[in-house]
């Protein structure tokens, strides 16, 4: 077990158009036992980063440390990493137990040592893991295969755990159950883990912290609250959160906010902080106030219900812009108060008009 540190990692590939940067100056620290979820759209470099940590690819520049040991030039088999991929990659001709034991049979271990390690791992994997050991991969469900793949990593006592979209091939219902199992295992074993996914919800669930990547760079590292309430830029703000953030063009002058021919007084603190001129508002579905004397109507196109959170998400147009508004589920049918709707200025994110800079963000709300 160890911490992980990346210093100024650059990776270039030779492509048809010359040198293509895949990673541009990535620096990261992951604490001992921590799970860092790396999330970003396809092609952002997250899988390349994982391969570099594993030693399957070597960086063009930069250093990789496990604890205080420089691993940059160490071969992958000597790094002691455990990797789990989306396609499980179990040996189909072996039962689960054989899959777990394979490593020991090929590295000077006695039969007794192997038996002991497999037994201990199966115990840690939970009460219902034992019955999987005697079965062939093809007789296991996707979720079960993935548990065997994880056990196969754990049995080797990895220094670092690397997971690349491990549950992307499971259907929605099984994904929900498997991710809980993986999270509990990561907690049980306390192995330092990098978890790569394109799905922000999964990243939020899995990561103690999250790193958001785009085009070979890390845009922000932090907790869910950091990313959601204090995003580093417009990209992070739109990437994190569901339904996605609505962006509305506006302008500030003389302490008032102007949008599509309408105007509202800004709260004094914001009026002071926001520079006069054009800007963009980032409005999340829960950032609307209903039944306001200075509110304007929402033109409703459709709504969806999320019963577990007791809310409905209403999609529509407000001042000619597409917006999403969340309502308490009980009021989803009456659509009450939507005729006089406006954003809650104090909760919004404010962005520059011409780049991705954040001008003001609210920080996390007081919940208790």
């Amino acid at each position: 077990m160890t911490s992980l540190r990346l210093e100024h990692i650059v990776k270039d590939y030779d492509g048809p158009g010359g040198r293509q940067p895949a990673l541009r100056d990535i620096s990261l620290e992951v604490a001992d036992g921590e799970t860092l979820a790396i999330v970003g759209p396809s092609g952002c470099g997250k899988s390349t980063l994982l391969k570099i940590v594993a030693g399957l690819e070597f960086p063009t520049h930069g250093r990789i440390y496990y604890g205080n040991i420089d691993m940059t030039d160490i071969k992958p088999q000597d790094r002691g990493v455990g990797m789990v991929f989306q396609d499980y990659a179990l040996y189909p001709a072996m039962k689960s137990k054989g899959n777990l034991a394979y490593y020991f049979e090929h590295h000077d271990y006695t039969h007794e040592q192997m038996e002991e390690r497999v037994r201990r791992t199966a115990e840690l994997m939970g009460v219902d893991f034992q019955h999987l050991l005697g079965r062939f991969p093809e007789t296991l469900s996707g979720g079960e295969q993935q548990r065997v793949a994880i056990a196969r990593c754990i049995v080797r006592d990895p220094t670092i755990f690397l997971m690349d979209e491990p549950i992307v091939n499971l259907d929605a219902k099984r994904r929900e159950k498997t991710r809980i199992e993986i999270k509990k295992l990561l907690r049980t074993f306390g192995v330092t883990t990098l978890y790569v996914t394109h799905d922000q919800q999964e990243a939020i669930f899995m990561g103690d912290r999250l790193a958001v990547m785009r085009a070979g760079r890390i845009e922000q590292v932090g907790s869910f609250d950091d990313l959601y309430y204090s995003p580093a830029n417009l990209f992070v703000a739109t990437f994190i959160g569901s339904p996605p953030l609505n962006i509305l063009p506006a302008a500030v002058s003389e302490g008032r906010l102007h949008m599509a021919g309408q105007s509202w007084p800004l709260p004094p603190e914001l009026a002071e902080r926001l520079p006069p001129g054009p800007l963009r508002l980032g409005v999340r579905a829960e950032h609307w106030l209903r039944d306001q004397p200075d509110g304007l109507p929402l033109e409703i196109s459709h709504s969806e219900r999320i019963p577990t959170e007791r809310i409905a998400i209403v999609h529509g147009h407000w001042l000619g812009q597409r917006v999403t508004v969340s309502l308490p589920l009980e009021q989803a049918d009456s659509k009450s108060g939507l005729a006089r709707l406006r954003p809650d200025w104090e909760q919004l994110l404010y962005f520059a008009a011409d780049d991705e800079r954040v001008l003001a963000s609210p920080g996390p709300p007081e919940l208790f």
């Binding site: 469900s141 219902k173 809980i180 669930f205 569901s242 829960e286 019963p307």
Partner: protein, 437 residues
């Protein structure tokens, strides 16, 4: 071929592959203009149903009507159905324009009409600037919009969608859903939408049909299915995070001041049966029932928005706290004697210091669900909605065999996944080919 006012009727339809009935006595009425969603786990027969509607497979028994017209023996091409697939099924060698125009050309539409329709559909789905490109130059989201535009230019009697969002990133899905709703509204024709994702079903469908092992379980609005599931399978399948299921025994309350009341007793907790449910529960005195509690009906006692009595709590060890917009989702396990996972969605953010601690959660007793363990039938809220289901079709709950209910569905899901490979591998190419035949 018009039929603008016609609905779709599926009457006692059976589809067998060999001995196995993949669709088993299915009856559904899809209203004119309705977006109807079929949802269920892999192998439940939903995609086969779609293929029966398209005419890509003949029915073994039963009848399908488009409006008044019996279409059992009508070829796919003459059914005038438009399909949108998971893999978009666009031709790699054709430009975006030609892909969109394909269906119209196959029907020998005049050139002017083709140009006009393709351009306006491309504009609607924001791919006007891509008309000259080949599919490999497009992103997944753009390909999907090409597939939608291709359906848009058709004047089909029925629109079929087979998991059209499955290959899209989460962030693209919201937009894609809106695009599908736009297409649906503009066409005003009935549509059947197949997905395994219940959240997508809830977001899109006017009505939703839940299928399992070829059989219809329940039809209703998303909220109907969620609040009044007719059986344990529907209760488990609809809702994320899923309903918590516990095996309990019905016993009389021993305390004299509670004379005549019943309790639901689990090794880790015991809950009083609310007076309003007494009649339904009495027949099970001394027997086992499956108790279902939705995650939002478990709340910290002092923050609950429902009546809390001292003896209506469950204690759990906090394993994971997942932040959400409205608070957090907490993953817990019961304490004794064997830990069992359950989930609560709280209206407030639980501080990280609670990880690894055990906390009490109050149960909203008026919202509990009870299922007969023999056949999975709902005894309380969804009892009236019940469709008869044979005993074997319902998963055995939790503690009966020492595994969790989820595991059970895992294995059963695996067992039924052996549907003929061609069900999974559908492509518009084949539809078009048959259409031209």
């Amino acid at each position: 071929m018009g039929l603008a006012s016609g609905g779709i009727v599926i009457e006692h339809v059976v589809k067998r592959f060999g001995e196995r009935a993949v669709v088993d006595d299915l009856t559904l009425h899809i209203q004119p203009g309705e977006l109807f969603v079929l949802v269920g786990p892999s192998g439940c027969g939903k995609t086969t149903t779609l293929r029966l509607l398209a005419g890509l497979e003949p029915v073994s028994e039963g009848r399908i009507y488009f409006g008044e017209r019996l279409v059992n023996d009508i070829r796919p091409r003459d059914r005038n159905v438009a399909m949108v697939f998971q893999d978009y099924a666009i031709f790699p060698h054709l430009t975006v324009f030609e892909n969109i125009a394909y269906g119209l050309r196959a029907r020998h539409a005049p050139r002017g009409l083709i140009n006009e329709r393709v351009t306006s559909a491309a504009r609607l789905f924001r791919i006007e600037h891509l008309l000259g490109r080949k599919p490999r130059q497009l992103s997944g989201g753009e390909r999907q919009r090409v597939a939608l535009a291709r359906a848009m230019v058709r004047d089909a009697t029925l629109y079929l969608y087979d998991e059209p969002l499955a290959n899209l990133d989460a962030q693209l899905r919201h937009q894609a859903r809106e695009d599908i709703l736009t297409l649906h509204r503009q066409k005003g024709q009935p549509a059947v939408y197949v997905t395994h994702d219940q959240a997508e079903a809830m977001a899109l469908g006017d009505r939703i049909a839940v299928m399992r092992d070829g059989k219809l379980q329940q039809v209703g609005s998303g909220l109907d299915l969620y609040e009044r599931p007719c059986n344990q399978f529907v209760a488990f399948f609809i809702g994320t995070p899923g309903i918590n299921l516990f095996e309990v025994e019905v016993r009389p309350d021993e305390r004299p001041e509670h004379g005549g009341r019943l309790r639901l007793v689990h090794p880790a907790f015991s809950l009083p049966v609310p007076a309003e449910f007494q009649t339904q529960v009495v027949p099970y005195l001394g027997q086992r029932l499956t108790l279902g509690i939705r995650p939002e009906h478990l709340q910290p006692p002092r923050r609950a928005d429902f009546a809390v009595s001292e003896d209506s709590t469950i204690r759990g060890l906090v394993n994971v706290i997942e932040p959400t917009v409205s608070g957090c989702t907490v993953y817990l396990s019961t304490l004794e004697p064997t830990p069992r996972d359950f989930v609560a969605t709280l209206k407030a953010r639980l501080p990280g210091s609670y990880l690894g601690r055990d906390i009490p959660l109050a149960v909203n007793l008026r919202k509990i669900h009870l299922f007969d363990p023999a056949d999975g039938r709902a005894l309380l809220h969804g009892a009236a909605a019940a469709v008869p289901v044979p005993a074997a079709a319902v998963p055995v709950p939790a503690a009966v065999n020492g595994r969790s209910a989820g595991d059970e569905t895992d294995r059963q899901g695996k067992a039924t996944v052996q549907e003929p490979a061609k069900e999974q591998q559908t492509s518009e190419a084949s539809t078009e080919r048959e259409e031209q035949a």
